[in-house]
Symmetry: C2
Subunit: 526 residues, 2 copies
């Protein structure tokens, strides 16, 4: 395969040449009803990617198709699915797709069929969840479990938390909600203390999540929780399961009621589809809901193999993002879900994107001279409209926007005011914002003038179901992967988190070394 | 007073001339223990602003002092305090400071002493909260209130919600917690439906917050809640108070148990110190907690009058932000509180900053040719360290960082592991991150190299108390105000939210006008 830096490709030069004329794209003239109808790409689970309000034309699309081919994006994705060592820095395969279907060849590693291993763990955790729901597994005091608490940080927290919140109302409305779920992540002791104080400990099951079994924050929080359980007269080993790798100190350990396994081929931020997300979601909503989620993700993974960029939403979204980042020069993207259920989904995408593609060297460790991953941020609409949208509409800089919306609510509990229900108002706001951002509006009072020219896309579907959520998550995972391939970086390691860990250890062991570090430690009362 | 565009000042040219040499500031050489000791400015409520890890020297500081003088920042702040019409677009005074003390001259408007009006409302809401806590005011079914729900959006939601979360554990640990508080903001019907389903309605008091009494989302949610109350056989007027302006349709209305008033001189995003924040916080924690919060904010407001930038943290923070935005060229800032209690504080600051300073015309409506407010985003540490910090450390672009930390936890409930408790680990992480970002680290493996050169500041204090929280909030409000004065913009209006409202109304009334808007409406099933 051809692993070239992006600026060495011929399409890079061609895109550079034409970029300037698109910095002031004529949305007022170009964004017609026909364009809105036409510029849509079907996604998995009935979702649609609409990219009419992006600053591009057929010439740009043709070059983006060439880019996909010149950088061999589909070929690289296939290689990843087939077990190629795409995490070059850590010399590892990248197998989160295999958690939700077998889109490539069977992956055998050291004689082990990895897909079978993942399916076995899924079956085990499904059976465990059902035993908890059936009252066969109970707390050490004999009570059935009524709550589950995930203890983990980063990928073991943000993804599962965002997905739990995304499905909580759906499950409650459909009678599928089994247990309340909470999350402890921060090493700030107030986090664990408040969560423990809010729950009946004798009815609570904790999930300790750490692939390595060595995450400082998570181990501190495990100790915190065990201390509370024991002080409440409970047997902590009867209230805790572990999700870890088979080689970690947490594995096969009698301190836990049971353990479920992942491996080094599942990166933290890609682990929502594994036992990391599977245990908490299956316990909260039943294993059927989690399997529906996997089904939607698997469907999206298959669609992402399509070489025609107009038929592959993840690929097209990735390429448009590259166009905006490297040629139009926008250093950020806002994610704007019009769905309260997706309140923490932007925080998960922030992690997924910025941790994967916030890299300044290529996959072989050579420094790059072009921009890679953007800053990603966002909050749910309509809330954001009354907040930071001011800058998005009338600030001095342009921020590309990613809307997400659904035709129907999850709870189907609504009220009508002034001739429309709230769901209809919610959708009307999306349509209005897309057009306002793109076309703007003139006004004699310049303070009331909207310049427009703010590009956006929207992903929309009928309702946010488990299957749709899986398709949505996989879309963004695959988008980020394709962008990493374009930029010729390794999207699957995270060396940028290491130095902080080393220096923290030095501070705690009282040999700061660096005098400034010693001085900061002093003023912070360490 | 002199209201010049920033690029017309002489100091703008001088700062431009020297900026390039600071784009590669030698943190490894410059960030010494002495510098960390020295570069600190005391703030209100015992907080400290530490700016050692910023890319500047005494020459830059001297120019920033000149900038403060040339743009008459303190004089403009005084004019604002004294009731000057600083919200030029809407022809209004800007009086949120007056909610927490009288730092300027008494403000008389149409014969009314505004400070006295604010104090009277504070006394009334305090007495109301005490009557609820004492059981004198009860639900229509005779039960004492156990929960309070704020219905509001934007400034009526983000600030009060962030402050409630910031003090919830402090109040619980100190025995001051009176009522649980929840918030309904989004027009998404799933938001209101889920909150209502989670509460005993006969014990719940709702606060309807809308200055104009015409906010679409808030009125839809009011109707939603009233419908639920009535279906539960309750008298909705006995379960709802209003916070609004005296001229709104909600004022003096028997549909509410009581009403508390603000006026046009309190912008939404600046209204946490008014009845908008006061009712929910006083009901949740008692009026004493809210008055402590105001005391801290008032103290910060007084300190912000100091003309010497080295003694005025809000002013210095503002000027350093301008230095980074306009001369070093950074388009964003990350807010990183090492305190789980501040989990939603970055979202509030995002609103405060981006809605205030996301402007492209000056205070007289003339287009500007320099950058104004940056994109603001953030999540609590240590969580962010396992997520988007990868890009902050090793991405291709530099993001300035604003740390916040406390020496002690709020709940004082902690556990020791490997020789340190969690609070100590939390603090060690802050110190380590500041130094890692600034100094980086070389490595033969370029993938493990940290370039450093990432500037940061930290605000730290003993513990996050109500007074400290007030000082912290006022610091950022005043920082944003000073930046607005430098940029010669109006930080107090928000015309950028209007166009979306107009287009939404058109969609709902089936006369979209714009064909693209009609087409988006169609695909979204409106």
């Amino acid at each position: 395969m051809n692993f070239s830096d992006f600026d060495k490709t011929s399409v890079f030069r061609e895109l550079s040449k034409i970029a300037n004329s698109f910095k002031h794209f004529d949305f007022r003239g170009q964004l017609t009803a026909t364009r809105v109808e036409k510029c849509r790409t079907p996604m998995a689970a009935g979702l649609t990617y609409s990219w009419a309000a992006k600053a591009l034309d057929e010439g740009v699309l043709k070059l983006l198709q060439n880019l996909a081919e010149e950088q061999e994006l589909i070929k690289k994705y296939r290689a990843l699915l087939d077990g190629g060592v795409m995490n070059t820095g850590e010399n590892r395969m990248v197998l989160h797709h295999l958690l939700r279907g077998e889109a490539g060849k069977p992956v055998i590693h050291e004689g082990k069929n990895i897909g079978e291993f993942y399916r076995k763990e899924l079956d085990r955790l499904s059976a465990f969840a059902e035993a908890v729901h059936g009252g066969k597994i109970r707390g050490s005091g004999g009570k059935p479990f009524s709550a589950v608490v995930q203890i983990g940080i980063g990928g073991s927290d943000l993804g599962p938390r965002a997905l739990y919140l995304a499905l909580e109302n759906y499950a409650a409305a459909g009678g599928m909600k089994k247990l309340d779920a909470k999350f402890i992540s921060n090493v700030d002791p107030d986090d664990a203390s408040a969560v423990c104080a809010s729950l009946p400990l004798d009815e609570t099951l904790f999930i300790l999540v750490s692939k390595s079994g060595a995450t400082q924050e998570t181990l501190a929080n495990e100790l915190f929780v065990k201390d509370k359980l024991e002080k409440a007269g409970l047997d902590s080993s009867g209230h805790m399961i572990a999700v870890t790798s088979e080689t970690s100190p947490l594995a096969h350990n009698t301190a836990y009621l049971d353990s479920f396994y992942i491996d080094d081929f599942i990166g933290g931020r890609y682990s929502s589809s594994s036992a990391v997300g599977g245990c908490v979601l299956s316990l909260a909503f039943g294993p059927g809901v989690f399997r529906e989620f996997l089904r939607g993700a698997g469907e999206a993974d298959k669609l992402a193999l399509e070489p025609d960029i107009l038929k592959n939403a993840a690929l097209l979204d990735a390429l448009i993002g590259v166009w905006e980042r490297n040629f139009l020069g926008y250093p950020y993207t806002a994610v704007l879900p019009y769905s309260q259920a997706l309140s923490r989904f932007p925080a998960h995408l922030q992690q997924l994107d910025m941790e994967s593609n916030g890299k300044r060297v290529n996959r072989n460790g050579q420094p790059l001279s072009y921009s890679t991953g953007p800053v990603v941020f966002g909050e749910p609409g309509t809330n954001g409209q009354h907040s930071f949208y001011q800058l998005l509409h009338q600030g001095t800089d342009i921020v590309p926007l990613q809307f997400i919306g659904f035709l129907e609510s999850q709870r189907k509990d609504d009220v009508e005011l002034d001739g429309s229900d709230s769901q209809k108002k919610l959708k009307a706001n999306i349509a209005a914002q897309i057009v306002a951002f793109a076309k703007g509006q003139e006004n004699e009072n310049r303070n009331r003038e909207f310049p427009g020219g703010r590009p956006s896309s929207i992903i929309y579907g009928k309702q946010l179901t488990p299957q749709v959520l899986g398709a949505l998550l996989a879309h963004f995972e695959n988008k980020v992967m394709f962008q990493g391939f374009v930029w010729n970086i390794n999207s699957f390691d995270q060396e940028g988190v290491q130095l902080g860990k080393v220096l923290t250890k030095r501070v705690l062991e009282n040999h700061a070394g660096d005098p400034a570090l010693g001085s900061y430690s002093k003023i912070l009362g360490i």
